[in-house]
Subunit: 453 residues, 2 copies
């Protein structure tokens, strides 16, 4: 047999026990909050039909889909000779692909199971997704998404609950964040007001750069992007807008006299009113430059930034009015956010905020002396485990030095010895590996001692 | 845009909230026991290099691997024109495949990370695997495996711990099971003793059929499989062996005078001695017909049968002496078992043994009256959630009938009303949906009432 030097595909990762417990800490925290807000878990298959995935993420997204080769004699099943064009050929020999995000599978799920679902439907989903992106620092080809969405209601109460969830998750994780909020209708209103509906992105980018490069440079850039002098002139009051959140909304309300803009302002005011009334600890701000996923969102837009770490957005989302329409179910509005587990992991690592008590290893290592001592040790361990204490038995009657070195490497809190002396006395000798303190105790007392630690 | 009728690839499944909570109940139970025994979680990527996967599962297994088409212009990257043979062509255009089980990725993990791992290494892994099997009832193309393995020790203490884990998991799940135990060395010893080393499978199948078809038919079948008269004659004492476990082991010990057979008997005796000493509730039995994965196991073989449901094995495993050898790390012995989550799910469903208290939905639905009542309701809910109670707010101020129908469909335990009366009194009206009992209470009292339910 040829020996294979082991490696994994680029852009993918193995997770060690130490990484797993930290990742699970993040997932468990997020899940607990989702459940508290009445969201329910679902899972969808890793593979979806290509017909479900293609055309949903733009041309760039289509290129980033991992396709799965049809099983069996795929060349014969292709029917016609393969196209010389790889894109076309791929569709002759692949019917399935790996899921690219959790939003499209969710929309597919809602439509496919509409007769089983009660609307409004609140679901969360925590599963990996795959993208054939060029791997780089912090960007992987397989990564988890943690999505929470509510479909079947237009109410801004849904947005308010998502804001509360952001507040609660990051309070529990002890990460100081700012939630930036915008509204797609306001952006559409601005573009309409200045007569430049095709230039929403250019306009938001310009607003974003104002502080850095100044008004004149912004106007020059807008001109170079093809905005008319008239549009640029009309944009000036928005660029020059000053004040706090409510003052900005008041100014916008004077400027954006179109229907879509007014609707967007009203939605923002309602949402901020909920936030103010609830008295959240979370820092929120109106950010008119926020424009993520323009092709897709139709109302509120959210993005969360960590305040104490230089890193991109760690959570984001928004409202989409017709996501299920692509699968034939019209008129179902939804809103959702996605927590970026990998970036949250990086933030917690940089801030050293993972709780000390989460650990991958057992609490007590029982030494192994073989023979009758081994049987006695196994019986004692069974009592410890019955009390819910995670224990490990060294499997071989190896030299004590080797066994203790193992306990050290594994960061065991305690080691336990059940030798002949202990066996005859019905005791166990427990050593606290932090303090070095050592006691021979009846088993029940030893269990209480360890349980308290 | 073309509207896609939504569907998922055959052999795959969506999991609804109701299914998810039941599946998570199984996974959480298994994980908790694994942790209690000092096993630590790892995860590996869904995709592995084909060089890692190919040749590890036999020719049949190779055919069942899902291969992932190389990204980009895969035809040009293939270098040479594609072979007209699909198997060969697939290797020109695919470098990666979906993982087929968790054992080979685990072996790859151990070798790849050997410098970071402390031996003996105890890991568990709960992740989906993919097989291009023909889908049928109870057989899926994507399904979860729950594997627990220990590598780096030959000690039968490891086998004993796995038996304890089986005992504990099925005790917690309240499934009445029998653990069948055999040893590959005993099977090898039998085959050697009768001079039919090539016919281990035929011999075990024959032993298995003895009760059903009788001795004469068994001997006829062995003859038809090509066993010599001499071999069949030598097998008779084993076929005619009577008695309980220890009597059978004693008989075997007289018959199997070869080294491998004696070693196997000794291993079985040691393992059963551990089991007897520990006084497990679990029913265990020596089953000489158990022969799963012969090509792969080298010592103990395990299989768990549910006693009260007609279904195949729900858990299985064994010892393998050189799994990491295929990746260049020789001499590392391991033993592990795999819990079949899908079959355990079916058993729990058939026996109606899922705990009643596990539920997908929130506990309380708060009605929505809009306006100031809505704000008051949101503040009251925040207090409930602070107390850890999962609550749901109906997002729209819809007709009460519609909101209550929703509460009914979602099996809410309570509904709560915070209207004008309640708001003015600082109260909430709580209705127990089971008893119909309804009370208007101060918020703190309502929280205690619901928390107790």
């Amino acid at each position: 047999m040829v020996i294979t030097k082991p490696s994994i595909p680029k852009g993918t990762r193995d997770f060690s026990p130490a990484e797993m417990v930290r990742r699970n800490y993040i997932f468990d925290t997020i899940k607990a909050v989702f459940a508290l807000y009445g969201f329910m878990p679902i899972e969808t298959p890793a593979t979806e039909n290509l017909s479900t995935l293609l055309g949903k993420y733009g041309d760039e997204g289509d290129k980033l889909l991992f396709k799965i080769l049809n099983s069996g004699d795929f060349l014969t099943s292709a029917g016609a000779p393969l196209s010389a064009n790889s894109d076309k050929a791929s569709l002759q020999i692949c019917e399935k692909g790996l899921r690219y995000d959790l939003t499209v599978p969710f929309a597919r799920f809602v439509v496919q199971h509409q007769s089983e679902i009660t609307l409004p439907f609140k679901r969360y989903q925590i599963q990996p997704v795959w993208r054939a992106d060029r791997p780089q620092k912090g960007r992987y080809r397989e990564f988890y998404q943690c999505d929470v969405d509510m479909v079947g209601s237009n109410s801004l109460v849904c947005e308010a609950e998502l804001v509360q969830i952001v507040d609660e998750v990051f309070r529990r994780l002890d990460i100081n964040v700012t939630l930036k909020i915008n509204n797609r209708k306001v952006l559409a209103g601005i573009a309409e007001a200045i007569g430049a509906a095709d230039h929403i992105v250019d306009v938001t980018v310009a607003i974003d750069k104002l502080e850095k490069i100044g008004l004149e440079n912004v106007n020059a850039e807008l001109q170079s992007k093809g905005l008319s002098d008239d549009a640029i002139a009309k944009l000036q009051p928005i660029l020059l807008m000053k004040g706090d959140r409510d003052e900005k909304l008041a100014s916008l309300s004077n400027i954006l006299t179109n229907e879509v803009g007014q609707k967007g302002i009203e939605e923002l005011r309602t949402l901020f009113a909920y936030i103010d009334a609830l008295g959240l600890e979370l820092k929120t701000e109106l950010d008119l430059t926020l424009a993520r996923g323009l092709n897709y969102y139709t109302g509120a837009i959210f993005e969360v930034k960590a305040n104490d770490v230089e890193i991109g957005s760690i959570t984001g989302g928004g409202r989409y009015d017709d996501l299920t329409g692509i699968f034939g179910l019209k008129g179902l509005s939804g809103v959702g956010i996605s927590f970026g587990a990998d970036r949250i992991y990086d933030v917690l690592t940089q801030l050293d905020k993972f709780p000390k008590q989460i650990a991958a290893q057992a609490k007590v290592l029982f030494a192994n002396f073989g023979g009758d001592d081994e049987i006695y040790t196994m019986k004692v361990i069974a009592q410890f485990r019955k009390a819910g204490i995670c224990c490990d038995l060294y499997p071989d009657a190896a030299k004590m030095k080797k066994q203790m070195a193992f306990a050290d490497k594994q960061n065991m809190l305690f080691t336990a010895i059940c030798g002949e002396t202990e066996r005859n006395a019905g005791q166990v000798t427990i050593k606290n590996m932090t303090t070095g303190e050592q006691n021979s105790l009846p088993v029940a007392e030893a269990i209480s001692l360890v349980a308290k630690a």
